[in-house]
């Protein structure tokens, strides 16, 4: 019995898994028709992937903007971005665990990224990784720490 086109697509992507992949490979060794299908799938993938090979990003300028924002963040630990992050984290901790939890998690003078790490740990444990990731997205979204003129 021939593998389905869907199975061949998954096989071609190297995502079939060991057992299924081995079964498909054995079949391909003796079936010219399926080898033809696989060649066609590969050719489609190659054509589509060729677009991804074109690089039109000025990586030096973009990277410089990110590194500059990182340096600014490190050099001004009480800057607006860090304060905003702290404030958002406190709010999330209060929302999920109550206001007393903030005092447990945060120490005076603690850098904002350390508070993020500690809050993340609690969120991971109590909410689960997926929900914790969603909370982190909300907390980190739009901190706007990268100067617009430095963007690529």
């Amino acid at each position: 019995m021939h593998p389905s086109i869907a199975a061949l697509v998954v096989f071609c992507d190297g995502e079939a898994g060991a057992n299924r992949g081995s079964r498909i490979a054995k079949h391909l060794a003796k079936c010219e028709s399926c080898r033809g299908q696989l060649r066609r799938i590969r050719s489609e993938k190659d054509r589509l992937s060729a677009g991804a090979a074109i690089s039109d990003v000025d990586s030096r300028k973009g990277l410089a903007a990110v590194l500059s924002a990182m340096a600014d963040w490190r050099h001004s630990p009480v800057g607006a971005g860090a304060s905003e992050l702290r404030s958002r984290l406190r709010w999330q901790i209060e929302t999920y665990f109550g206001s007393s939890a903030v005092a447990v998690v945060e120490r005076p003078g603690m850098p904002a990224e350390e508070l993020l790490g500690r809050a993340s740990e609690i969120l991971d444990v109590f909410l689960g990784p997926a929900a914790a990731e969603a909370v982190r997205d909300e907390v980190l979204g739009g901190l706007d720490c990268i100067r617009s003129e430095a963007r690529p």
Partner: protein
């Protein structure tokens, strides 16, 4: 709540060894060199807006820096960055802050990811995908796959199961094949891309 407080109090909350500052910078520089082009292309196709795509790229890398500085271990940095960029674009579209178009589509508007002179053949082929009947989800899966993301990473970006990604990609290839063979009723739209393909191959 008191029990929760004591549980939190009992946790060892020191973050798990963030790498040194220079280590993070090196990590980010290497990641940027490797992945920025793909993330930008994907974000641009999704946002259909250069400025939003640029912001998504920068936002993704800056968040990566913050999370790594906080000691977070990121198992698949590439998938993580694409996910953040994807969510950023979707949020921006929902908020309507920058754009003028609907959320739904990667369609209809010429993809700005490649300047017209860069490679018309490839550009046409990617742009033709909606015209041969691929759904927005199928196109997103194809685009992410062409950027080299594994199924699990694509699933993470789009909030799907890995098996569903495989199904979307298989369906996309099925539609592509039908269009190539001229079987699809919308295949006439695919003509120019195919003509260019033959020229490209010869």
């Amino acid at each position: 709540m008191a029990a929760l407080g004591s549980k939190i109090g009992a946790m060892d909350l020191s973050p798990c060894c963030p790498p040194p500052a220079t280590g993070i910078e090196r990590e980010i520089a290497e990641l940027y060199e490797r992945e920025a082009g793909g993330i930008l292309r994907y974000a641009r196709a999704l946002a259909m807006d250069q400025a939003t795509a640029d912001d998504a790229l920068q936002e993704a890398f800056f968040r990566f820096f913050l999370c790594r500085s906080a000691g977070q271990q990121i198992r698949s940095p590439k998938g993580w960055l694409f996910r953040v960029a994807h969510n950023y674009v979707v949020d921006q579209k929902k908020a309507g802050s920058r754009n003028q178009t609907g959320v739904e589509s990667l369609t209809d508007v010429p993809c700005p990811a490649h300047p017209p002179e860069s490679d018309a053949y490839v550009s046409d082929l990617l742009q033709a995908l909606p015209q041969i009947g691929l759904s927005a989800r199928e196109i997103e899966c194809v685009r992410l796959r062409t950027e080299g993301l594994r199924y699990e990473e694509i699933a993470g970006v789009l909030g799907l199961q890995a098996g569903t990604v495989g199904a979307f990609l298989a369906r996309a290839h099925d539609k592509l094949r039908k269009a190539v063979n001229g079987g699809g009723h919308k295949s006439r739209h695919f003509g120019p891309a195919l003509v260019r393909e033959k020229r490209y191959a010869s």
